[in-house]
């Protein structure tokens, strides 16, 4: 038996195609990105090795730091919105009629293409004919804002559809985790006289702490590398007001043809994502022994 199941040739045959694709299209490129980041390169011509100059420029690039700030703001709002999703999921999981249908409705936006969501919300935010401003005018607000065209509001106006898009995803995860809690634990607490809120805070939350940790990582890292809606809805504008790290990198590469500098941004983005993942894991690990 062991002979058949440890046949090296077969193992290699089964692993190699997938491993080759992942190495060639994910791992080799991130090494190349690190390498290109040390070059001056327009993407077509010769590469010039310039050492860490791209990174030195990056450190002083006010536009980059502005976009990094926007990325972190998005991460902050995404992380905070998790509290709301937890709240909704706890209600949803407490034997509400139609809970299954509700959570499926919540999930629908997540299934749609970002481009379609972006186009739809551009119509919602349309200054004169959009659903939002028509409603605002109807309730007596005479001069509603131009949302995506307003430099003070554009970023926040995009954060709302991003939250709209992912809400159902996190509710689904929390709901599934809450449903996995053995009924006997909750029942025991109830018999002991615990109120529903005590049960939620002191029993259910600690029991799904691991899942909460994973969702914090997903929400924060997902936000730091976020791109789609911003690229389509505002292209980072007006005047950089909604630029994030990924859209800034894309613009430098495929509009500015500064591939070396854009690679430095891409590599920096990778490092930030890995470091933040590590920090969140580390920071939340202390809670591990809560139950």
């Amino acid at each position: 038996m062991n002979k058949v199941l440890s046949n090296k040739k077969v193992i290699a045959l089964y692993i190699t195609p997938a491993l080759f694709l992942v190495l060639a299209l994910i791992y080799v490129p991130i090494i190349q990105t690190g390498y290109y980041g040390l070059m001056k390169w327009n993407g077509i011509g010769e590469m010039d090795f310039i050492g860490l100059k791209n990174y030195k420029v990056l450190m002083k690039d006010a536009l980059f730091w502005k976009s990094a700030l926007h990325s972190f703001l998005l991460a902050l709002f995404s992380a905070l919105s998790l509290i709301g999703y937890l709240f909704i999921s706890i209600i949803l999981a407490s034997k509400i009629k139609g809970a299954d249908l509700l959570r499926k409705i919540y999930l629908i936006p997540m299934l749609l293409a970002s481009v379609a969501i972006a186009q739809l919300w551009m119509k919602i935010y349309h200054p004169s004919n959009g659903m939002l401003n028509i409603m605002l005018v109807a309730i007596g607000i005479e001069d509603p804002p131009a949302w995506l065209a307003d430099a003070n509001l554009a970023l926040y106006a995009i954060i709302i559809p991003i939250i709209w898009q992912y809400a159902g995803f996190y509710i689904l995860i929390y709901y599934a985790a809450l449903k996995n809690i053995p009924e006997s634990l909750v029942e025991a607490a109830r018999i002991d006289g615990a109120s529903p809120w005590q049960i939620a805070l002191k029993i259910k939350l600690p029991l799904i702490m691991n899942v909460i940790k994973v969702t914090i990582v997903l929400a924060v890292v997902g936000s730091l590398k976020y791109f789609d809606l911003i690229y389509v809805m505002t292209g980072g504008g007006p005047n950089g007001a909604s630029e994030v790290m990924a859209s800034y990198m894309y613009q430098k590469a495929f509009k500015g043809f500064d591939f070396g500098y854009a690679s430095a941004i891409g590599f920096f983005l990778l490092v930030i994502c890995l470091v933040v993942t590590y920090i969140i894991r580390r920071f939340t690990a202390a809670n591990e022994d809560i139950y």
Partner: protein
């Protein structure tokens, strides 16, 4: 840590008293408020999409002069006929179907082979290889974009559907393996072991015994892959320049530009692009829910 302990009879007694007297009314009220809240969230999630359906069936006059919430007076289905025939939407649609299907099949088969080798076969380094796949989940797409672009340019795969199908496959392999893994680990090994005893070859075991047994989880993984591929934007936007190879997501992005004021046409285009996923969700919602849950959180 703090757990709720029974700390004396009086308190429990009190709890029971209030439960008997006031709980039903309070409970019902609280239940009602929570229900209204949940339904409001559902309305917020679904309403923009309903509004999209409404304006996709309206004429420009209706869109601009009437309430955004009014039903279309006589639904203009010709909006759909117009965008389907006028531009390249039908072509983009076929491209989306082709790339999605090709990548889904390739991904699910390759991921099944990997998962089989990792969970069923004995070899050193299997944990390391699994780790390599899993770390792939954390890599930001944008950190790979420039090298992929320049490599595809160098090997003449730029503006070629193959670059899209291979990239989709590579980037979806990690999550697909993650979805398959739980199922493989829970699957009893007796049937396979009996087949080994009977002298079956390993390929026979994989293709004729294991794969058929994992049909349900393959279906789940396939539908999740399908959603991701259908909606993908950045790779096609970066690697494909010819109209004839574009997918719906990138195609509608360019296409909508022509119709800045014809909201009916824009709406119809968007509905065409999201309809396949919505229909799939209506039929397969349980599988999709299960796939998203198992593909996102594992310890």
């Amino acid at each position: 840590m703090e757990t709720v302990k029974p700390d004396g009879a009086p308190r429990i007694g009190n709890g029971l008293d209030t439960k008997l007297v006031s709980k039903p009314i309070v409970n019902r009220l609280a239940y009602g408020i929570m229900y209204v809240f949940l339904v409001l969230v559902a309305v917020f999630q679904i309403f923009p999409i309903i509004w999209l359906f409404l304006f996709s069936l309206k004429s420009s006059q209706e869109v601009f002069n009437m309430s955004p919430f009014s039903l279309p007076e006589n639904p203009k289905w010709e909006n759909y006929a117009k965008v389907w025939t006028e531009g390249n939407i039908s072509l983009y649609f076929i491209n989306s179907v082709t790339y999605t299907l090709a990548a889904v099949i390739l991904t699910v088969v390759l991921a099944s082979m990997v998962t089989f080798a990792i969970t069923r076969m004995h070899w050193k380094g299997s944990r390391l290889v699994l780790g390599l796949f899993m770390v792939g989940l954390m890599i930001p797409v944008h950190s790979t974009l420039i090298p992929l672009f320049s490599t595809f340019t160098n090997i003449n795969l730029i503006d070629n559907p193959l670059s899209i199908i291979l990239t989709y496959t590579a980037f979806n392999l990690p999550i697909t393996i993650m979805i398959l893994l739980g199922f493989y680990e829970a699957l009893p090994r007796e049937v396979e072991e009996a087949a080994v005893m009977d002298g079956a070859s390993i390929h026979h075991i994989f293709f004729k015994i294991t794969l058929p047994m994992t049909m349900p989880v393959m279906a789940t993984a396939a539908i999740i892959n399908m959603i991701y591929n259908w909606n993908e934007f950045v790779f096609v936007n970066t690697f494909i320049s010819s109209d004839s190879f574009k997918t719906l997501t990138v195609g509608i992005q360019n296409f909508i530009g022509q119709y800045t004021t014809d909201w009916g046409a824009i709406g119809a285009t968007l509905v065409i692009s999201i309809l396949p996923i919505l229909i799939a969700f209506l039929i397969l919602s349980n599988r999709i829910v299960e796939g998203i849950a198992s593909g996102s959180v594992k310890g």
